[in-house]
Symmetry: C2
Subunit: 364 residues, 2 copies
């Protein structure tokens, strides 16, 4: 792969490009297309990623823009809140950032969501670009314009739909992820196959050893395939009125588990657990076969996804789903599988069905 470029459009108009590369070498050229010479740039990143890539990115951009600064916040989901956003506003004010200036999100999903929300709301909106470094951010959270932060213990409760000007994916950053972070992102990759693309799901199964070994060529194909699915879904439904809701497969119970586990488990791990639970409900309803269910469960197990922690109370999980953003007029919009490769939305999933899946879910 020399490097791929995908245009993301909205209402037929080009909004931004996703570029997939094996290094940051093309970043200066991509940013020159966005006329950065007259702009101040602020790289927003967290303590972990800063150690790996901040100096490299700074060196590439220094001298090409009007001013370059970096805002570094403590790594982790606990930073994804309005306090960190307020600190960033303060930082931008102290550097006299105006409406023509730009933010650069360098990091995983937390960094992208938080930076995007700050960009959406600082001076009622300034430009930002995404440099996603985690697998989860590369295939999922950096694409589609969802930004936001957690509020109290609710995930992404405060946010905005706001598009980046560019998503620049450097595949090589996947090499520095911990095994757990890498696996965690595979949850969203598998999800993309399950909800929308049976052939891609089969390809993932066939190549699972190479995927696990982080073979660079295979990862490039995998990331590209996953971005294509995500792009297709968000282009068809930018405002989440229809099929975009498919992307929430595994997330209804996943978010509840994530919240109750007090963020012991990663977002990706919880989505994996939630996906298996949603597959379980789909099987009980006769949508997918027992073999298909077993196969999905095995796929997640292969990549080291944990089972539902036994110490979590089923009633608490059920209660937590009631605060889910996907509630509509008090009814939960639950994403199930019609087949492996096609999601379906149901508003009639009962408490009983959820409890049964949870009962089954804590068994390895």
């Amino acid at each position: 792969m020399q490097g791929k470029r995908m245009e993301v459009t909205s209402g037929g108009e080009r909004v931004y490009d996703i570029v997939i590369r094996k290094s940051y070498d093309d970043l200066p050229g991509e940013l020159e297309r966005l006329s950065i010479s007259g702009k101040k740039l602020c790289i927003v990143t967290e303590t972990g990623v800063a150690g790996h890539y901040l100096e490299e990115v700074k060196a590439l951009l220094a001298g090409r823009c009007k001013d370059l600064c970096a805002f570094i916040f403590p790594r982790g989901e606990a930073s994804k809140n309005l306090d960190t956003v307020s600190d960033l506003y303060r930082f931008l004010l102290s550097h006299h950032f105006d409406r023509k200036d730009m933010l650069i999100a360098l990091g995983g999903g937390v960094t992208g969501d938080l930076t995007g929300f700050a960009a959406a709301t600082y001076l009622r909106g300034i430009d930002f670009i995404q440099l996603p470094t985690s697998l989860l951010a590369q295939v999922d959270s950096s694409i589609g314009g969802k930004t936001g932060v957690d509020f109290l213990s609710y995930k992404n409760m405060v946010g905005a739909f706001y598009m980046p000007r560019l998503v620049y994916i450097n595949i090589s950053t996947l090499a520095t992820l911990s095994l757990r972070q890498y696996h965690s992102g595979l949850g969203e990759v598998i999800k993309h196959g399950l909800i929308q693309d049976a052939a891609y799901y089969r390809w993932l199964k066939m190549n699972k050893e190479k995927i696990a070994a982080r073979d660079k060529e295979i990862m490039a194909v995998m990331v590209e395939g996953s971005c294509l699915i995500k792009r297709a879904v968000v282009q068809q439904d930018p405002g989440e009125k229809g099929i975009r809701a498919y992307l929430n497969f595994g997330h209804t119970l996943g978010h509840a588990i994530e919240k109750l586990s007090d963020f012991r488990l990663t977002h990706g791990e919880c989505v994996g657990i939630g996906s298996v639970l949603a597959a379980s409900i789909s099987e009980k309803r006769g949508y997918i076969t027992p073999e298909e269910y077993r196969d999905i469960k095995d796929m997640f197990a292969y990549f080291g996804f944990p089972v539902l922690p036994a110490d979590l109370n089923s009633g608490d999980i059920l209660e937590a789903t009631r605060h889910d953003k996907k509630m509509e007029e008090g009814k939960l919009k639950f994403v199930l599988l019609e087949t492996p490769g096609q999601a379906v939305i149901r508003k009639d999933v009962t408490d009983q069905e959820i409890l049964e899946s949870l009962k089954r879910g804590d068994m390895a």
Copy 2:
């Protein structure tokens, strides 16, 4: 006047209506068009307005929606911040508000801006409607989709462009405004004439006695005329790339004065002072005649607008304008008058010109 209805469009599509009435009697019918029967509604208002209109509005809506609650915050600009927004998020969460539910902003500009920002960001955006009760909110801040809150001492530093579903103006609420609040809103009314409509400005001058006396028929015509100008401007330029910036006439210095006066002066009063200062610069440049400048100054004086407080330091005001949102690549976009009735944007206004206008401005 029986009642007026104006459609506000964006890209040719109808986005929301502005209705002008003499009571709240038509509110239930207007809200039924927005299918409120299945929705929870939260009226957001402040302590002052709550005493006048909350019970009336509640009584009109009770039983017509799924649930009705009210969030009341302390009156005043000091409430327009992220803390109040966070309190409102908490309130909505505790009432299990989901994406289909709706906020109702009942009050002046602070209430509308704050409620709109909360609506723009709660669950990445829920519906809201505006029931503006102050003159300033009726003719200016409720129209056009600008929402936001202050941050540190910067006005509207954090916000979003987000459209209401309806703006329902009850002219009768103007009767309960204090003289100072009413005059304050007239600053924006006069501004609309000055920047875009010489005939409307002349009409205001001709009818100034009746306007001052709050004659109901005259106020209805005045509000309608002002809404028409504002609508025309924001429809042509929703994202503030061009002529929408005209609406900032008087605001660059006005905001700086407002901030430095520590909110002793109202927003409208500061805009009035800023408008006279901008007219002064326009005159010094030879854009408008000394007679036209004198006439504008007299118009604001007639409605009781204060002059620039003598205790404010010119250097401080100049420094404060540097943090203005209307900075573009470090240059201030200053709105001047080409004639009374036509604004013009200039990026070359010098510190010297501003200081001269300030020197002249503190003389009655």
